[in-house]
Structure formats: structure tokens, C-alpha cells
Symmetry: D3
Subunit: 229 residues, 6 copies
């Protein structure tokens, strides 16, 4: 998964940008519930901390953007989430954007994430496939026709001018679908890479002036972010 | 602080309700930033976990309600936050409620917390004192006249029919202020105790049907919540 | 109907709480339109007035909460509506709540009621049965399978973490349905009883300081509320 | 008061429109609280009922629009409230409208009324005078300079393109103020008269198909509206 | 088309009102996209300019209301759009209004237009027919049964108390449909005529005090509006 | 002005990006009113058209973003407005952003622009200077202390985590102010350049499949956009 995300990122990275894909050092293998999202936060911070000072911008490549708000505060470089990036990129490419995914079960999480980022008013609607219980690793290919149909409905009936392909299992599927869809398709990871580059140039390393504080009960990488620069 | 909260809770607890006030076993001594709020989440879960099966309902007695959404999912008893409880109680006692505190610096956090709980439309406005840099332990008494004035403005100009006294340093101040204010004053901890009792009777211990999962990198109490009942 | 409501209330009432179920002394037998809702207001106030000083809290057990805002103003004890209570209880038991009923015709009224109480943002969606023209007294049992299916859709597709069973004919049906539904089901009357108890302890009898005024053209019980304490 | 309203109405009425100003036959002399608003509803319905079939459209000339929603349902001709009319007229005369009144105490009621009519998004802001405890009958003239200043702030700083003069005591003041204000001033009664004429021509007498129902406990005029056409 | 619009307008115009139907002197024959809407703006201004001082109020008879905000600023008489008028009239005739059209493809445009006019909260929902690729000139008659069914759903399931027939091809169809629909049907052009009359009486010719400015690159009629009165 | 904008753009442009600053070929020298905004749209389209196929992305460097929605539709490369870019960049750099400008008179325009882009929920508030009637060319320097104070209030009292410097006269002032402000300052032009680069890499030249249409009454450059690729 980490490799696949790294590869997708490199496709759109600017010349000179080096992509390093990193797995969270601990936590849960899969993020599903609100509680999962919470504990994924410190795990994400640990990954960001252990590589600190080796990157100019960071992307949290997990839908739901765990740890994002904290990371923006604690780090002195821009940090973007892939949901956040998908919403902003879609909004800049078209006035109304749609969200398409392979299963209805993801709609609640995306609705809340969209609301958290404040862009609900720009969303033309969700078009989701039926419940799904197969292998997430192959669902994108298996449901390709379904996805093309949902994208057509999003564009033609909801007026979507750009469409976000939502959910981890759809990562990398955009190039296969784009020829069948009349409006731009957005891949969250790729949007995040481009927007992270943009923000890094706009607002370079920016010391946030935290004073050192002692955090107990967490992995040393997390506590290290509180110990100051 | 923990003792003061316990005492305030006991004032309104029903006969037969036993209040046990517990401090989070790790984390940070003070919760101020978004990152603080994130790391306070697992610390709160640890406290809730280590006493598991010994309570029928729980209150997270920290404005901002850290870990609240996760705790509601992971525990089989009702869990309420004191901000959450204050907003709901105020909304049930009056159609428009005001929020009053001793310093403007708390407004952004309360605005976001109010928005998170979805009750922004019920809020008649914030009335906050000027910036403050003294001792939080005595500010409530020192600014008592200021607070009475802010409450009067909230009721008379904003139309507040109930007023939330917001911020940890105002805990327990309601009885002193109430005689000077024409509308009900809400203390978050006390509201939470009464509402937790109410919910415990409405929805007794309710197994949530989680399957056991392995969480790494966190204190054993937190991981224990994922290990199943 | 009044008996059935009283029985449901007693199931959840705390030890020591005495439930007295009262029918409005005049008005209309059934509340359907906006105009009905208006005239049900003074009828509700009359019932509340004629028993004044004999209760510590009141529940208006009619969906749509007629007279609620006026009663909160005129009485010196907490008053809750069953719609209001259902929305608040659901919001405290789960971050997203669903609303389920046996017929689509009730959706507009509930949407407006939800909006009036300011909790629209917390609602995950409505799942309503098809138009219905049979006997309301038996519809709950007849459509039990339908209701179980709607609850499942609400939980699985809308992400509801608690579900309100809406509409008078569903009063008391929750115990029959709960074993078939994975998330807590909320009965408005029962929620209102528990929340009214909670508020009564938080904010005991609270003189509102009205001056005496003369109201003409209404039943003496209603005018009596204006005549002062 | 009734005479003054009638006179203001006649100033803008079309040729051929006859204005009949009617006082509610019972209720309260002054409408201030939510409870007042509720009981004013049936009183307004009684006035509308006792003249039934003698008018082609009706205006409820009380800020807060008591009984409006019920009257729209029960009568077969258009009924408009003066708050409702002011908001719609202002929205049609300018993209952003302001609300100006002589005292801050009226803001909560107008905010709720604006929200009830759904036009909050069009309001550029409220500009209200300081608390007031004098004679409402002369406040408009006494605070004329204050009102002119508030209107200027509304136009210049809030970007108001039309301004509503809100509150009963400002009825009829618009012609005195308009020469000192650069944007159109709206008088609610006058707006309501013109809009009621417009609606009467658009949607003439329209039987609503109610079946006859028995309403008890109210004045015969109110019950009469339920007895059918 | 222009003739048909003029005829519909005359049906509801008051005695003494003269309707002059005018075609935009340039631009595009059909307005579909956002860009079309933009360029239709100056074209509409040109039509309004070339007849200046010959009318007391103007109606822009194109759904989407091109040029409306600019026209309200530049002209000294009331200007209404037919979408704007339909929304306001529907809101005054019923608390919840529905929007019905023959094809889903029009929903996005109407949603945005509704949002622009700030009345989204009053809309009970859209009921649109399936995609359509036939002759717009005859679709209203061909889909009359479909439209009657959609109106019934809007009233019965969405609770619509008035219904807007949306889209140019439905102009003039209301009289055919009204006998089959239980709630008032709104034709945008007719609503606009009545409301323009209302506003003209409320706010007669009102010099806006523009200073003369030079606009280059546009047709002389458009530049003329900037040259001052 | 055009030169100053070009210089600011070049400061943040990536290596390899060539900035060409272009003035609209016709229209008005200053954009103030809604009507100005409308006519600036075709003028902007003309500038974009006359250089077509010579750029990979475009920025409309005028607050209010005239012609933006149309340009996004008509061109096959990304187009960004500087208001749009400022809002999105600020939202990605901090959860709450403030808007600061030298005069209150700009607030209404920015509020509407913010609402148009759908990011109102992310805005922590406006902090604007008093009315201003001097030379816009020097106001930024003259009011530098005022602006620093407004930025401090935005950060400390409104909780802004990034601040947009709004209004043409503040272009290029960010480097002077940044040392005095604790949170990132956003210059709209610079944000737009970085975001346009990002979008150009994400969604390269993308034929929009328009059919050729005839637009009359506009400058040939504008009509040319309708004539097809």
C-alpha cells in the first residue's frame, strides 16, 4: 500500500521533488471507526516526527486525515491530508464537484470529512456503489464499469465539474477511468503532492514558537514534537 | 482540580449515584492547542479503560471534550463531555443560550466545540472578558462583577434565556453568580452529571459488538479497549 | 393513548418519580397541520396550568412539541417536548442519528421540528416507509419488518449511531425492535422523562419574575398563567 | 395604533384597493414574549375569521407575524405578515439588506423572525440603538438623528442596499428618514400591502379543501375556521 | 418565445399596466452554461438600457436571472428576475415550496439560483423528470402526466405548499396543470410581473446617484448605463 | 499596477515558470460595484483569449475574481482568482483564517466572495480599519501599524492561524508585515501563482469538448472563445 501511494505521488511530483513514502510505526493496520481515527493521530505524528527536518512538506495519505490539525500546529512545514487536498483541488477545478466511490458505506465518513474542511457547499452530491464485502485490493478494477456510470451520473445529473475518487482502494484508478469521464477526476494523493509543493513555496519553514513541554504516556517520537525544535 | 470537579458533581448527583473523580494517568497537565486536544484523547481513554466495568456512565470533565467521540464508540455505557452537556442542557432550558467567560481567548475553542456538537444555531452569542494573564485559580472571584455584567448583556441584549459559564476556572462559580443573573446559569460538569444519569437509565449497558483488534504503540489501558470486552 | 404514554414513561422513570399522564382539556383530537399545532399550544398550556405546582417537571407528549416555547417561559419548572428530547438524547448517544418512521408523510413535520431545535447538522438522514392509510393503532406491529429494515439502512448506509423512532403510532415499539437493530433506539417519551428528571435536578423551581398581565379570549387556565404565580 | 397602520397602508395601496384596519378582538395589548406570540395567534385568526369573505388578501400588522403560518393554511386568500413582507421586499430591492431599529432589545426577536422566513443569508447586519425605556409613541421622532446615523453605517459599512426600519414604533417614519439615507427604506406594513396585492392577483381565492373539524376551547371565530367554508 | 412570455405576463398584469416584451439585441440564442450566463448579462443590460425611461419596472425573463444584480444597481426602477420572483412568491404562498421540472439536467442550475437568492431553507425539495433530448417546444405537453405526478409527490411526500414550475419550456403550462394539483403552482414570469408592480409602487423611480464613468469594449447601450442618467 | 502584480508573482514562481502580466484590453479602470464586476468578466475573458495557447495556467489578479467561473469553463487550462486562491491557501495553512484590510468598506465584497467560494465556515472573522479616503497607492505603508494591530487581534482574539491581507492596495505588503505577525500572512497573487502551478501539473491541458457557437455583440476575443478551439 505504501509503495502504491509512493508511486502515485511520483507521477505528479515536480522535477526536483523527492517523494519518500513512510508507514506509521505503530497503531492499527486499518482505520475504520472514529476511535481508529483518534489513535491514528499520534501514530501519524510519530511518523512525521521521526523524519523531522528531512522534508519541506508532508502529506498524510489516509482518507479522514488523522492527526492533520495537530500536525499543522506542531510542524514548521506545510502538512496536507489527502481528503483535504482532494476537496480543495476539486473546488479549484470546478465550481461543483462530485464524490464517487465503490461503496455506500464510505459516504458518512466522507460527509463528515468534507464538513470538517468546510467545503460542503461546493459538493454537488455523492454517488456511491452498493454495499461491498469482497477484496478491497481488486474492487477498483472489478467495479470499473460501475464507477464510470456513477461518474457519468455525477456529471450529468448533479452537475459535477470535477469528481473526487474517494477511498483507499481507488488510489491510482484515475488514469483508467479518465478516458471514460468528461470532467477531471481527482486522486487525493496526487492532489496533495501538488498542493504541498505549492504551500512549501508559499510559506517556507516557519518556526511556530512553541515552548518545550513534557508529554508523558506516548511513544518518544510523539513526545519529541512537544520537546521543542 | 480533580477534587473540585468531584465536589461540584456531587452537589447535583441523584441519591444513589456515587461520583468517582479520576485524573488522566498521563498526557499533559494543561490542554490548550489542537495538538493537546488530540493527545488528551488517548489519555482520557486510558482513564476510562482502567476503571472499566465499575461505572454506569462517564463524564469527560475537560472543556473541548477530548476523546469523547472515541469513548462513545468504545465503551458500552453512556459517556458525556462537559461542553457537550452544557450546550444540550442550555438548549433545553431556554430557546436561545449565551456563552460567558472571563477572557476572549477562549472564544475560538468554544465556537469550534459548539459547532462540533451542532448547536451553533441555538447560541445567542458570546460575551467574553478582556485578555487575561493572571492566576486562573482566582480569576473567577476577581472578575465576578465583570462576569455578572457580561451575563446581564447576554440576557438583555442577546436575548439569552440560559447562560453557560465556560472555561475550567469558572467551575463552581454558578452559585455565587446566580443571584445576580435573571436567567439560569449552566455549569458544564453539573449538567454532565445529570445528563449522564439520564442516559444511563435510558440506554443501560449496551454491548457494542466490537471484534478484538491489536493496537500497538499506546499505553496498555488504551490497547485494552481494542482487545474486546 | 394517554394511558399508553403514561405506561411507557413509567418504564424509565427513576425511583421516586411519579408520572401523571394528562390529556389536554380542549382543542383537537389529532394534530396534523400547522394551524393544528398553533391551537394545540394554548390547549397544552391549559393542561400544564390546571396542575400547576403539583409537578417538578413537565413533558409535552405530542410530536411537534406544541406550546413548548411558551411553556418554557411561563412555567417555573423545566418543560420538555418529546421531539426535543428525542433529538437531544439521540445526539448524546451517537454522533450521527437517524430518524425512522412508518410513513414518508411525516418527514416534512419532523424536518421542521428538527430544524427548530437546531440539530439538523447531527441528523444522518430520514428513512421512512411508503404512504400509509390504514389504522395507526396497529401500524407499528404490521410494519415491524419494514421498520427493522429501515433501521438497518439507517445504521449501515447513513452511518446512524442512534435512531429515533418517530411518530405517535410507534410509541412503545422500541423494545420489540431493539433486538433486531445494532444501535440504540430512542423513544421520545422515554427520553423526555429522563431528561426532564435531569433538568429538574439541575435547575429546581425557578421563579421567572413575570408581572401579572390580563389575557382575554382564552380559557381561564391559560389566562391564569398570565395572572402571575 | 390601528388607525396609524391603516393610514400608512393607504399611502401605497393601488387604486381600487380598499384598506380596512382591524384590531384583534381579544388577547394581549402588547406582544413581547414567545408566549405572547403564541396566544396572539388565535387572536389574529379570530380577526381574520370574523371578516372572512370580505377581503381578497390579508396583512397581519404585528412584527413577529403571529398566527401567520396557520392563517396561510386556513384561509383561501393570501395572508402576509409585515416582517415577512419587509424581508422579501428588501431582498428584491437590494442584494444585501440591513435592519435598523431604535433599541438593541428588539434584535433577538428580529433575528429569529428573519431566520423563520429563511432570509438570514441576505441580511447584511443589524444596527440597533441603545437600550430604551421611554415612550414608544415618540421614540421615532426623538431618535431620528440616531436612526439616520445607523442607516448610514448600515449602508456604508455593512453594504446594505436596502434597509428595513424594524419595530412598531418606527411605523410611518420612513418618509421622514428617506431624504437622509442613500438606499431605499422599507416599511413593513407598506411592503405587505403591495405584496398582498401582488399575491392576490397571482393566486386568487383558492379553496384549500379542508374537511370540517371540531375545535373546542377557543372563541367561536377561531373554531369557525375549522368548521369549513 | 418573446411573444409567449409577453402573453403570459399580460394574463396577470394589473389594469393599467402595459407589458412590452423585448428580446436581447445580441448575445446567444440559448443560455446553458456559466459562461453563457455571464455574457447574457451585458446583453440584458443593453435591452434594459435601450428602452430606459420608458418603463416603471423591468423583468428579466430568463431562468438564472442574467445581469440581475447589475441591473438592480444601474437602473433607477425595480428590476426582477423570473427565478427570483418565483422563489419569493412561492415562499409567500406557502411555508415549504417545491420545484418541479421536466428534466433532471436543470436541477444544478436551479439549486445554485435558489442558493444565490438565499431561499434554500424554504425549499422542500426538487422533483425532476428523467433526462430529455426531444423538442423543448413541446415537452411540456408531452410530459404533462409526468409533471402532474411530480407535483403530487412534491406536495404529498415533500410537504410542498406551493410549487414552482421551473424551466423555460414550462412557461404557460400552469393553467393546464393547476386543476390536477392541490397546491398553488407558480409561473416565474407571472410572479415577476406582479412583484415588479408591487415594488414599483413601493419604491418609485429612485436615482441611485452614480457618477458618470467610461466603459469601453461594450455595445453603446451598455456603456450608456455608465454614462449617467 | 500590472507591473507590481507581475513582480509579486515572480517572487514565488517555481523555477521554469514564466510570468506574463497582462492588462485587460477594455472595460473599467477600477472595479467597485456589482455591475463593474459583471462587465469586468468579458474584459477578463478577452485578455485570456488573446493570449490563448501561450500559457499553461492563468490567474485573474483582481479581488472579486471577475469572469472566473466562465473562464474555468471556456479554457482548457486551470484558471484561478486571487481571492479564491487566498481563501484556499489560508485554509490549507491553518484551520481558522482571518481576513485583514485597511478599510471596513471592503468587508461586504469580501464576505460575498468568501461565501461564493464556500469557505465561510473556515473564516475566524474580519478585522478592518476605519473608513479611508486617501491615496490607495500609499495606504499600505501609512497604515502599517494599524494593520499589524489588526493582525494581532485576528490571531489572538479570533484564533486565526493564517491571515489574508485583502484588497489591491495591500499587494506586496506581506513581507513588511510578516516579521510583526505570529501567523502566516497570505498574499492573494502569490497564493494564486503557486496554486495555478499545482493545478497545471495535476490536470494538464484538458479539452472541454465545447461545440462552436456564435456570440454576437462582444469584442472578437470574447466571441473567439465561443468559436471553439
Amino acid at each position: 500500500m505504501t509503495d502504491r501511494i509512493g508511486a502515485a505521488a511520483r507521477v505528479v511530483a515536480s522535477t526536483g521533488t523527492v517523494i519518500e513514502a513512510v508507514t506509521a510505526p505503530f497503531g492499527l493496520p486499518l482505520i475504520v471507526t472514529r476511535a481508529d481515527w483518534l489513535v491514528a493521530g499520534p501514530a501519524t505524528l510519530a511518523a512525521l516526527s521521526s523524519h523531522r527536518n528531512r522534508y519541506d512538506a508532508a502529506v498524510i495519505a489516509c482518507f479522514g486525515d488523522p492527526g492533520l490539525d495537530a500536525a499543522k500546529e506542531l510542524l514548521d512545514v506545510p502538512v496536507l491530508g489527502i481528503s483535504e487536498a482532494a476537496f480543495h483541488a476539486a473546488a479549484m477545478l470546478g465550481r461543483r464537484f462530485g464524490v464517487v466511490s465503490f461503496t455506500a458505506a464510505l459516504r458518512p465518513m466522507f460527509e463528515e470529512c468534507l464538513d470538517h474542511h468546510g467545503l460542503t457547499a461546493r459538493c454537488a452530491g455523492f454517488r456511491m456503489g452498493p454495499p461491498f464485502s469482497g477484496d478491497p485490493g481488486t474492487v477498483a478494477e472489478e467495479r470499473l464499469d460501475l464507477l464510470a456510470g456513477l461518474c457519468a451520473e455525477s456529471a450529468e445529473q448533479d452537475g459535477a465539474e470535477a469528481i473526487i475518487l474517494a477511498g483507499g482502494p481507488l488510489a491510482g484508478i484515475a488514469p483508467l477511468l479518465q478516458p471514460r469521464v468528461a470532467v477531471p477526476l481527482i486522486d487525493g494523493t496526487q492532489a496533495a503532492v501538488r498542493l504541498a509543493e505549492a504551500m512549501a513555496g508559499l510559506m517556507p519553514r516557519h518556526p511556530r514558537g512553541h515552548r518545550s513541554r513534557t508529554l508523558t504516556g506516548f511513544a518518544p517520537e510523539v513526545a519529541g514534537l512537544y520537546a521543542g525544535p
